[in-house]
Symmetry: C2
Subunit: 211 residues, 2 copies
Amino acid sequence: MTIKVTIIDDHIMILKGLKSMIDGVENIRVYGTYCYGEDLLHFLKTKSPDIILMDIELPDISGIDLCKIVNEKHPEIPIIAISSHEEISYLNNMTNAGAKGYLLKSTDKKEIIFAIKTVLSGQNYIDKRLKEKLINESLGFSSTETAPNLTKRETEIFELIGKGCTNKEISALLSISKRTVDAHRQNILKKFDVHNTAELVKKGMRLNLLK
Amino acid sequence: MTIKVTIIDDHIMILKGLKSMIDGVENIRVYGTYCYGEDLLHFLKTKSPDIILMDIELPDISGIDLCKIVNEKHPEIPIIAISSHEEISYLNNMTNAGAKGYLLKSTDKKEIIFAIKTVLSGQNYIDKRLKEKLINESLGFSSTETAPNLTKRETEIFELIGKGCTNKEISALLSISKRTVDAHRQNILKKFDVHNTAELVKKGMRLNLLK
DNA sequence: TTCAAACTAGGTACAAATACTTATTTTTTG
DNA sequence: CAAAAAATAAGTATTTGTACCTAGTTTGAA
């Protein structure tokens, strides 16, 4: 039986590279390549690949959100995240979103095939290089830093804080009371588990939630 | 006459992708692919490609430095930078280092070929998408954001601010008056040309001065 | 050794953020 | 429709940051 692999990545170079690496292998073949999340979702309505290789950054939707959606609608199709980010926060975000594997774009053919087979066997797979990094870092701290779930309003205010707006300015911009902004800000700090603006903004930047 | 293209990128996927796109074109062929800067330099001692496609991030040396070196030793070989970074600062760094072109990894086959031919004809080439972005941004600001020159003490305090310390905490840590920290903080804000902690930390992160 | 930069630190004032509380209204969702 | 979640906003208190000012001491380089 041949393993059908669907790839979604907006970098044509990556698509071509992946395809050329995968198509040469016996019993595995590329089954659809897409650049847009929406196209993938449409494809999945009628087709069933065995596994999806998914870029974290896509033009129309974040890989994290797409991962969640695919996982909900098609829980039987495992997803391997493909990323150029070695930061652990990205890994955490994707695995939390339901990805079963995480590969770096620096991966070689052998590792990709191995990852696909590992994930299809029901196990998780994390990029070899990243795994080493994880182990090294866990000797110090094991940062399981993830983005908290902010509400729509909180996200809005959080971004304005990141732009350097004061609560008064935010209240004016959103046409709400300064006290309301105060309350939201408090909740945001709590959700991020930090105690002041400096920590908040830094964490936001580290998690790539700001600018 | 066939154009000989040498590629250097530590992402095998990108190498394969580029090769598959370029090799299909008439009169152009890939002439050596490398992952390490040192390997490329060794290669150039005996061989002369017509053009080099170079990743900005390499394992053993930064693309910027490699670009400078190749440009000095082999000024007749033009270099096109290949990057996944859309930030203008990267572009500036590479063109300053002597790159004649700048392509994003999201580029398609047509644009790559066009860029190669353009650069070989003596002109510069900047990625279409990035060019648009540049134009859009220059309508607002053209941000040539650079890190200000902080003194030793200011740097120390700036980093503590980034860690979320209050002035009181910093004064205790450094065994100086809180008022002194106040003064330093003021100067830091001025040097960064920002008006509060949020902006300061964000700019610090953007410029890679924090964590 | 003299001058400038850096570091130090105090005064004053006001703005902003942090840390709690409670409570009403609106929106979403099962 | 009812329950839960989100958004709204006010009270009160304290801490922290921003924005000016002046000015003495230390330090390193011309």
